[in-house]
């Protein structure tokens, strides 16, 4: 089975970089396994989340895991939301982008083009600070470590 893990976000906008940060942690955790020949068929991608780039990233994979930042009014920073493409939220994600295209659009377009992976898991991490600069806030950094462990288990298992 081939899996692609896609970290979506901008590392220069603080917590918005949680997706790429999880991918980086996973790369470190799985390097040993990979060199020992214990992990094959896993690709890592970081993305700005642009619709067509997302579809290209998961095309051909059996399973895609997307990690993105989510913002919730009166939120709980670091809280992890888990859902699959079958969940209605996947097609009405309403992710914050000024260009009227989001993860939901990517899923809808990929379905129409028959370019969906067999399974699509989406992890959303609630953010605290999306100001300028690198580095995650404490709660989001802790969530990134937790999520990297969870996805590593998923990939190895």
């Amino acid at each position: 089975m081939t899996t692609v893990v896609i970290g979506v976000g901008n590392p220069f906008r603080r917590d918005d970089g949680v997706g790429p940060a999880v991918v980086e942690l996973l790369r470190e955790r799985l390097t040993g396994l990979r060199s020992a020949g214990g992990l094959t068929g896993v690709r890592f991608v970081t993305s700005d989340g642009e619709t067509t780039a997302l579809i290209d990233a998961w095309t051909g994979a059996d399973r895609a895991v997307v990690v993105d930042a989510v913002r919730v009014a009166a939120g709980d920073p670091g809280r992890i939301h888990r859902f699959s493409a079958e969940h209605p939220a996947a097609t009405r994600a309403g992710v914050g982008t000024p260009h009227a295209a989001d993860l939901g659009d990517a899923v809808a377009l990929a379905r129409a083009l028959d370019r969906m992976p067999r399974s699509l898991l989406i992890f959303g991490v609630q953010v605290d600070d999306i100001g300028f600069g690198p580095g995650l806030s404490a709660a989001v950094a802790a969530a990134a470590r937790h999520l990297a462990d969870e996805i590593a288990t998923l990939l190895v298992g």
Partner: protein
């Protein structure tokens, strides 16, 4: 039809970049008013550029738009370099043109396939169209990808490239890196030619306008990253006189300034159809053939044919990118120095949606004293409103639902970038007795 008032309302105009609304008032059998309401709050870019370093506007203004960031970078660079008395030429200028070709390819492919073609084929959007026309939408995505590849290779990022600086680039690509673009671009050229023939066959309303057409002209080649403003009615002026000729004014219903040409009657228009009309003689042979295949003549005054013009420009931009890559010799250094000096500089380039003008006043210490940005969508607002007024007038027998849909299509002819102009459309049609 009975003598009555009508009110058409679109709360959120789809498939345009940004947020706006449209209001049409019909009194009996006469359209009395059309307003393109751009209500997106003003963004104050010109104000917060004041006091920034002279090296910063290319990156700061790029954030005005995620679709045409290169246009902002190039107009800002040209203006500030002019203020500082620096000319960027040779391989660095060619690399800029190549990067800009990447943006034209991505932007035009996006608009043709995902935003505009669904109107002509009777779909609510690209997803619905993809269910019936999978191969076509895949072709559009592949074209867009080719443009993104250029921007990633030359600009280091497909959205808001980070490799652009005053005087050139932070790092110039090696020949081998550009060579990797050749195969995808050759395939894209075939796809673009097929696109021109395809959209050239679309049925379009019999509708023309009489606006003066303004575009940059860069004799000898199709204007992209350089040129002087010219109109199809003989007006021509250097870029530094832009503000003498293009007069911006505020209207109550829009947070984006309208524009008119000083001492000229009527309205003017910038963008692909104006650019084509003033520049088509410099199309490459393959692009000229594409124009013939798309059924275009010497000018284009039917805004519904703009999709064909974009397809021809798509062919040209890919062909031009291939030519630039073939001729590329890496520059001696990735950028020429641009030391600050007190002065005023003006820059204009052809964004995918038309002429984008910047002016900066730089102080002795290199800080920006004042900035002025005139984007294409704001220049085109008055012409769009005039089109709508006459377009609706000819179609009053249509029911409100159909009329609303056609109005949205007419607005999408201009691929309006409302975010640039200040941001979506809310259509209201008032029909009064």
């Amino acid at each position: 039809m009975t003598h009555r008032s009508r009110s058409l309302s679109v709360a959120a105009l789809a498939r345009v970049e940004g947020e706006g609304a449209m209001r049409v008032t019909v009194d009996g059998d006469r359209v009395s008013a059309v307003e393109l309401n751009i209500y997106e709050p003003p963004r104050f870019f010109e104000a917060f550029l004041r006091g920034r370093g002279h090296t910063e506007p290319p990156d700061l203004t790029a954030r005005i738009c995620g679709i045409c960031p290169v246009a902002y970078q190039m107009s800002a660079c040209r203006a500030i370099e002019a203020a500082c008395g620096v000319t960027v030429d040779g391989a660095l200028a060619d690399l800029r043109r190549l990067l800009y070709c990447g943006e034209w390819i991505s932007s035009h492919a996006l608009h043709i396939y995902l935003l505009h073609a669904p109107d002509f084929l009777g779909y609510d959007g690209a997803v619905d169209m993809a269910r019936d026309h999978r191969a076509l939408v895949e072709r559009g995505l592949s074209l867009k990808r080719a443009g993104n590849q250029i921007m990633t290779t030359v600009g280091a990022r497909a959205i808001h490239p980070v490799n652009v600086r005053l005087g050139g680039f932070y790092r110039a690509p090696a020949r081998a890196e550009l060579a990797e673009l050749v195969e995808p671009l050759r395939r894209a050229l075939d796809d673009a030619c097929a696109t021109a023939a395809w959209v050239g066959g679309f049925e379009v309303p019999d509708f023309t306008h009489d606006h003066e057409l303004m575009a940059l002209v860069d004799p000898g080649r199709y204007a992209i990253e350089a040129g002087e403003p010219r109109t199809d009615r003989g007006l021509s002026f250097p870029v530094h006189d832009f503000e003498r000729h293009v007069i911006e004014h505020q209207v109550p219903h829009s947070t984006a300034l309208h524009a008119r040409l000083a001492d000229r009657p009527g309205r003017y228009l910038t963008g692909p159809t104006a650019r084509y009309t003033l520049n088509h003689r410099w199309l490459s042979p393959v692009a000229r053939q594409a124009a013939t295949d798309a059924g275009l003549g010497a000018d284009c005054r039917n805004p519904f044919r703009s999709i064909a013009v974009r397809a021809v420009e798509l062919v040209y931009a890919i062909d031009e990118a291939l030519r630039l890559i073939e001729a590329y010799e890496p520059p001696d250094r990735p950028a020429v120095p641009v030391p600050p000096r007190a002065g005023v500089g003006h820059g204009a380039t052809e964004a995918p949606r038309g002429v984008l003008f910047h002016r900066y006043e730089i102080a002795d210490d290199g800080t920006v004293r004042t900035a002025r940005i005139v984007p294409p969508t704001s220049q085109n607002q008055a012409a769009i409103e005039d089109d709508l007024l006459r377009f609706v007038q000819q179609r009053l027998d249509l029911d409100d639902h159909r009329l609303t849909h056609e109005c949205e299509q007419a607005i999408r002819n201009y691929d309006p970038c409302i975010s640039c102009a200040t941001h979506f459309l809310d259509l209201t049609v008032d029909r009064r007795p």
